[in-house]
């Protein structure tokens, strides 16, 4: 028997989904609410260091906001260049055997242009010497 979507059935489904959503939310948020109501409000203090971020008991030395080398942004950018290459070539590879692209030199040239333009980023990085692992030193303070 083929199922028909009457207005009534649709409303029923929405009710079910709403009920399960509410049930899921109650299971997720309920314990947090119960614990919040039943937990002790504060924790006893001796030296008032409950909010110290370091948990190994020693007083932290210095500031975590230090300046450090930003060499790795280059690798992020290079990853992006290769990544975009691969990302857009996957659909091309999937669709290329289709009858639509048969015996058409124009599509091939388009792909070549596309990859060529994207490769300019890699070539640029190559010329700039990003692929050579050289330790770049920065002035630290």
């Amino acid at each position: 028997m083929e199922q028909t979507f009457s207005t009534f059935l649709y409303q029923d489904n929405v009710l079910w989904i709403a009920a399960f959503t509410l049930g899921g939310l109650a299971f997720a948020l309920g314990p947090i609410a119960i614990v919040y109501l039943l937990m002790p409000n504060e924790t006893r203090q001796i030296s008032g260091k409950a909010l110290q971020a370091i948990e190994c008991a020693m007083d932290p030395i210095g500031d975590p906001w230090i300046r450090y080398g930003v060499v790795f942004y280059l690798y992020a950018l290079i990853f992006l260049a290769f990544d975009v290459d691969v990302l857009f070539l996957f659909p091309v590879a999937v669709a290329y055997n289709d009858v639509m692209f048969e015996s058409s030199i124009r599509d091939f040239i388009e792909i070549l242009l596309f990859v060529g333009i994207l490769s300019l980023a890699v070539v640029y990085a190559w010329i700039k010497g990003v692929f050579k692992w050289e330790r770049k030193t920065y002035l630290r303070q």
Partner: protein, 165 residues
């Protein structure tokens, strides 16, 4: 009762509190924190031969924010005392302190005239709930201390006292 000093909660409901205390007593999470040789016995207690997990207390937490029981296992030097205070502050309620070994109880062999580096007992600056004597205490003594702490936390008993029953 070991829970009488715990700060109050928003909802106070005696039956629920008793139930929660049974849960607390059966899942004491000690702090992984050994400051001297008693910690060796504490490690042995956590391992397979003495097997602290029989009493639900095997989850040694390396973070103070996740633990219930601070086992002060060893000699407290004056240099370490601020750190122990910080760890106690960072533990969430409800929290209990066990003084393990003679040094943590009273300074032990370091209580002599002219010593300058040792705090004579954890209860000089911490609210200690259970004292476990020994130098160092046997792992069985630490287990007994854990059970005594369970009895402090909750009226629920792991087993009946055979002398009374």
């Amino acid at each position: 009762m070991g829970t009488q000093n715990v700060p109050s909660s928003i909802v106070q409901f005696a039956v629920v509190d008793e139930l929660i205390n049974v849960g607390r007593a059966n899942s004491l999470w000690p702090l992984t924190f050994g400051i001297a040789c008693c910690a060796i016995e504490m490690m042995a207690t956590g391992c397979a031969r003495f097997d602290m997990s029989r009493f639900g207390a095997e989850v040694f937490r390396p973070s103070a924010r996740q633990s219930d029981v601070m086992i002060v296992a060893g000699t407290i030097t004056k240099k370490m005392m601020p750190g122990i205070k910080t760890l106690y502050d960072q533990m969430p309620e409800p929290k209990w302190v066990m003084a393990l070994g003679n040094c943590a109880i009273s300074g032990g062999p370091f209580a002599f005239e002219g010593q300058y580096s040792i705090v004579l007992g954890a209860d000089e600056f911490l609210p200690v709930d259970v004292y476990v004597p020994g130098c160092p205490p046997r792992p069985e003594a630490l287990l007994q201390g854990i059970i005594e702490l369970e009895h402090l936390v909750s009226d629920w008993k792991r087993w009946k006292n055979p002398e009374i029953a």
